[in-house]
């Protein structure tokens, strides 16, 4: 007996389509329990998408949490095996604060994580899967790619302390170029010092259009290595059907305490916020005592509620 598609809602259907996609590329399913020790999340609370975790005291006295995140749990519960590559996917419910007014909500997330010997081909595969995941949801999508190492280098060139650095990174996320001028004035820096950062943030669009300019800017500012990594990531789409959906955009950022290198976000027309978020998180691995590297992404299925029933179902 086959399961009829009409008995599934759009979230379920897209969830199963994504699982089939990831399994087809050799990713194995990672299953996790509903609860995890609270300590794991309290030590890495900035990594979480929202503040606040539902906690309770277990019968043995341990403080437990209803899972607000999957990646932290995967990093904690998998072993550091140098020289290997682990490819996993998950389909889990997580519990987060949607907003201060709305309180906690159950959200469904599907994602992939690649851990171990990460090279440019792993990153290219993850980016390809991210684009394909978006395509399965809707034909009208955009995958924007950034490089946190490069953004960090441009910010560090002017930031005199951690607070200024944080404020500048926030401006990058907001495409707030006038804010950069104000920050320079507040910290007594010449506005001209921020010109390379302003130029970098102004360069967004298709890789074909902006990569040559980004390369030049990076060379002038000692960040050529990062530009090369970004160019390689973007080049993995060259000549493919998905090429015109790819954008370079340095506002696609993540918390630089955890993320490094390539970062990306996915958008679908008609849905007001990103439905997919991911990137390299070697820094999180180091913080959790791991020597290996990692890259992955999550698709937020709840965000797809507003999509017309179905999404794409073809291959």
């Amino acid at each position: 007996m086959q399961i009829e598609e009409r008995v599934m809602d759009s979230q379920e259907r897209i969830g199963f389509l994504l699982r089939s996609l990831y399994a087809g590329y050799g990713y194995s399913r990672y299953r996790m329990g509903k609860f995890e020790e609270y300590d794991l999340y309290s030590r890495n609370k900035d990594f979480l998408f929202s503040e606040g975790v539902i906690t309770f005291t277990d019968t043995n006295g341990r403080l437990m949490a209803l899972k607000p995140d999957v990646t932290l749990s995967i990093v904690k519960n998998t072993r550091d095996l140098p020289g290997t590559l682990r490819k996993m996917y998950y389909h889990e419910n997580v519990y987060r604060v949607a907003s201060a007014e709305d309180g906690f909500r159950e959200m469904t997330q599907v994602g992939v994580e690649c851990m171990g010997e990460i090279d440019s081909s792993c990153i290219a595969e993850i980016l390809m899967l991210a684009a394909e995941s978006l395509r399965l949801c809707s034909e009208e999508y955009v995958l924007e790619i950034s490089h946190l190492g490069m953004l960090g280098a441009f910010v560090d060139a002017i930031a005199s302390d951690e607070k200024m650095r944080e404020e500048l990174l926030q401006c990058a996320v907001e495409k707030n170029l006038h804010g950069i001028s104000r920050i320079c004035a507040d910290y007594g820096k010449a506005e001209s010092a921020a010109e390379p950062l302003r130029q970098l943030l102004s360069l967004y669009g298709s890789p074909k259009n902006v990569m040559p300019k980004i390369r030049r800017l990076a060379e002038e500012n000692g960040a050529a290595e990062y530009a090369e990594e970004l160019a390689q990531a973007a080049a993995s789409f060259a000549g493919k059907e998905t090429e015109d959906k790819i954008r370079i955009d340095f506002s696609a950022s993540g918390d630089v305490k955890y993320y490094n290198g390539i970062a990306f976000k996915g958008f679908i027309s008609g849905i007001p916020d990103s439905v997919l978020s991911g990137g390299q998180y070697d820094r999180l691995m180091r913080r959790m005592g791991r020597r290996d590297r990692a890259v992955g992404f999550a698709v937020f299925l709840n965000m797809l509620e507003r999509l017309a029933e179905g999404g794409r179902t073809d291959d």
Binding site: E144, N176, S251, F267, I271, P272, D273
Partner: protein, 208 residues
């Protein structure tokens, strides 16, 4: 078509004049009518008036592609939006005001009346000062006069209301002005139109 949320009131009318000069007119907007939404298909723009404090919500939730919101609202509610331009209008400042002759006693918790709880908390946290926030929705100036609070954190434009109530600014937290904001997803799919609009308005700002 770009959907634009404008703040009702004098600021909104001033801002609309900038949009109009930038090449996005919609004369019906200024006519006295009960209409809520105004289209100009030729210019590719649809306007709607909303309460100033709601503009950021309309933009963040994607009901509007762009909008104009005060920096005070953006700092208080931190919506996930792009902040594309400082329009240099609606200028004022977020400030701490207190009764004339007020002297802060650091041994006591400072009672702060405000509409802007987050801004006040962030400001005093950065100073390491223990405070008790009293969240009010209006007529903030009356709070220290009646002994409800020691100081207030509020927007100050000319300072006339403060002076008339024997209050004075003791610290400026930050300058405030109106900003052009954009929905993140809308920006991806209407990049050229939103850029054209932002560029037109940027020129208007420069000419002010």
């Amino acid at each position: 078509m770009i959907n634009v949320a404008l703040p009702k009131g004098r600021l909104g009318e001033k801002v609309y004049a900038m949009f109009e000069k930038a090449g996005f007119p919609c004369p019906a907007l200024l006519e006295n009518s009960r209409k809520l939404i105004f289209d100009n298909e030729e210019a590719g723009v649809r306007y709607f008036w909303v309460k100033p404090s709601d503009v950021a919500i309309y933009v963040e939730r994607g009901a509007a592609d762009v909008g104009v919101a005060g920096k005070d609202i953006l700092m208080e509610y931190r919506p996930e939006v792009y902040e594309l331009l400082d329009l240099n209008v609606g200028k004022c400042r977020m400030a701490v005001a207190a009764p004339e002759q007020f002297r802060d006693n650091p041994d006591r918790t400072l009672r702060v009346a405000t509409k802007f709880s987050r801004i006040a908390r962030d400001f005093y946290t950065s100073r390491g000062r223990d405070i008790d926030i009293i969240h009010l929705n209006g007529s903030i100036e009356i709070a220290p006069i009646l002994g409800l609070s020691d100081v207030i954190v509020d927007i100050v434009e000319t300072g006339t209301t403060l002076r008339e109530n024997h209050l004075e600014v003791i610290e400026t937290i930050m300058p405030i002005s109106a900003r052009l904001i954009a929905n993140k997803s809308g920006f991806k799919f209407k990049t050229a139109q939103i850029e054209r609009l932002a560029e037109g308005i940027r020129k208007e700002v420069e000419q002010q």
